[in-house]
């Protein structure tokens, strides 16, 4: 079953996670790995996501007496999971419960990259936007209003040039605040059209009863509406993990699979 890979990985992360686990997400070609390398230096190792040929890198750094574990997720355009890479990224952010997720975006290509950022914010409020490659944006004569962006998104926005180590201290500080000083984040919520919104409303309450706050019920409702079988199976496995030793729910899984 697909979930074993995730579980195994989560257990491995849990072993020596330090004071907090931070996920690093981003589109391909955004300099995400540069951010990861600059933050962790040589304190890292790469490995295979169990059961899948997807690489992940784990690293760590120390800031203000806290040991931070950083998980570099595979590059993805979206979390709707059309490839193994995207599925791994989604599963970790959603079920791995990182203390915060940093989304690295390309300043020169904000619109495309915000697509992913908004999807992450839909799952978890603990999101930080790292706008990388601002030097490239300047070269292309683009001006970006970062504070306005932060206001619109409702999460911290940190401009960086990771390869020149510009802005990384700000990023560490922002992570510190979100994780340890419980900075309150109110991420912008994506509003869908009436049909979808009313459908969410119809099922969200029942979903809430089911997930007991262990997952974001609005997001789960959306995935159920979308009918994506991989995520529905993963959600079900997650619920089962919350409530182990439950035989009958296995039958429900079959129901889920039939629907997918």
């Amino acid at each position: 079953m697909q979930v074993t890979g995730l579980q195994e990985f989560l257990e491995r992360i849990e072993e020596n996670k330090g004071d907090a686990v931070i996920a690093l997400a981003g589109n391909p070609n955004t300099g995400k790995s540069t951010v990861f390398n600059s933050l962790t230096g040589l304190n890292q190792h790469t490995g295979n996501w169990p059961g899948k040929t997807v690489v992940f890198a784990k690293g760590s750094y120390r800031y203000k007496k806290k040991n931070i574990t950083l998980v570099d997720l595979p590059g993805a355009y979206s979390l709707l999971a059309n490839s193994a890479d995207e599925q791994v990224a989604r599963d970790f952010i959603c079920f791995g419960k990182p203390d915060a997720t940093v989304v690295v975006v390309d300043a020169t290509c904000l619109e495309r990259n915000l697509n992913l950022a908004l999807q992450v914010m839909e799952i978890t409020p603990q999101t930080i936007l790292c706008v990388n490659l601002i030097d490239e944006a300047k070269r292309k004569k683009m001006a970006i209003d970062f504070s306005k962006l932060a206001d619109l998104l409702g999460v911290p926005v940190i401009p960086t040039v990771a390869r020149d180590k510009v802005g990384l201290l700000d990023l560490k500080e922002s992570i510190h605040r979100v994780v340890f000083e419980k900075q309150l984040l109110q991420p912008r919520r994506i509003v869908y059209n009436k049909v979808i919104e009313s459908a969410i409303e119809k099922i969200q309450e029942e979903v809430e009863v089911l997930v007991h706050g262990s997952l974001n019920s609005r997001w789960v409702a959306l995935r159920l509406l979308d009918g994506d079988p991989t995520i529905i199976r993963e959600i079900f496995n997650h619920l089962q993990r919350m409530d182990p030793g439950d035989q009958q729910s296995k039958r429900a899984l079959k129901v889920v699979e039939d629907c997918g």
Binding site: N115, D145, Y192, A252
Partner: protein, 462 residues
Amino acid sequence: MDSLEVGLNQILSKAQKVRWQVGSVREVIVKSIYEQAQEITEKVVTTKEAEEDLDRKIDNIVTSKILGYPLMIALLGLVFWLTISGANLPSQILADLLFGFQHRLTTFFHWISAPEWLHGVLVLGLYRCLAWVVSVMLPPMAIFFPLFTFLEDLGYLPRVAFNLDKLFKRAGAHGKQILTMCMGFGCNAAGVIACRIIESPRERLIAILTNNFVPCNGRFPTLIAMAAVFLGILVSKESNLLASALVAGVVVLGVFITLLVSWILSKTVLKGVPSTFTLELPPYRWPKIGTLLIRSVLDRTLFVLMRAVIVAAPAGVVIWTLANIEVANLSIIGYLAGWLQGFGRLIGLDGYIILAFILGLPANEIVIPILIMSYLSQGTMLELDSIEALRQLLIANGWTWLTALNMILFSLLHFPCATTLLTIRRETQSIRWTWLAALIPTTVAVVVCFLLAQTARVLGLV
């Protein structure tokens, strides 16, 4: 718990109703997210008149109808030339250093009066094999991988895939396969790992199974030496230019075979609908050279070298033992080569060559040394000082131009090395595909060499 089952069931049936109403929920979701991303971006980004950007100008050249392909070939040629010519001197220095240390080891073994066989196994077998692999492999990889990583980080490689995709589409494969092949020039094991960039399983498997048809760093020295020997026998005159052209031709043949085998695979065992092809052409970015060097040396060069060392060490022990245990005045190597002689002759080679390839399974680098060692009937691998000396030795052992040519072809087409096979096993999680990855190239190699040998003999060319 009953409620979980019932609950999920109820919700799912409700959800299904909405799906029927809306048509495509997914489309509405993605559209809404993108529209909001667009709205936000319009509010925070102001762009002064976009000038015709540099990327476009570069791409106009790099993907142009006239210059696109020549430029690609020129760059590939440049990378090879830098790798091969740049590796010569450091390889020599490294070899002198490591083999120099061997004498000290020998002195040490004599000093502690260790038995002769122990010295043989450990120093003449294990250490010598290691020293050989490291000095032959390390310098070219330490040059090739940074160069490759540079092109990768610069953003040039996706353009190569863009230019060549049509060729691969016709072969039922994915355009990104060319990138995994480029990586394969450095090391086929690394090339196989690189196949991860191909998302769809079918096309990825095709790329993995055919990666071996591009000659890796470990086989290049063999190809170059054999090209010189071949030309020496045929035109009895050394010509670097001709030899380079021959090696280039061999590479092109490898690419052709890759496409052919990919096509056959996609029509047979890996039949299926071609998956989506979407390829981002990212903006060009000048890489940070320092980080690039550290990353490519740590992540690629040392990684590949370590794996080669792990397989080469035991191989050295085995080879020394086989060459030094004599039964009735003939070493085991001699017996084995005798058995293989008939098959070897059939495909235009000989028993010793076949045996060298089999014993060279751990690493392609040691094929020629094993061969020389066998011909000289000495228990250790050694380096002849010049191509001329090598040629004399080979001719004395019955080589013709056909033997040299078939040696080149067999080296290009035969089974992958043990490291690559292990990597394929790990990447595919399947013994069956791993076997196929060994069987397919070997079959191709035997068929090609057989046909060539028989044709040459029928026509009376040898």
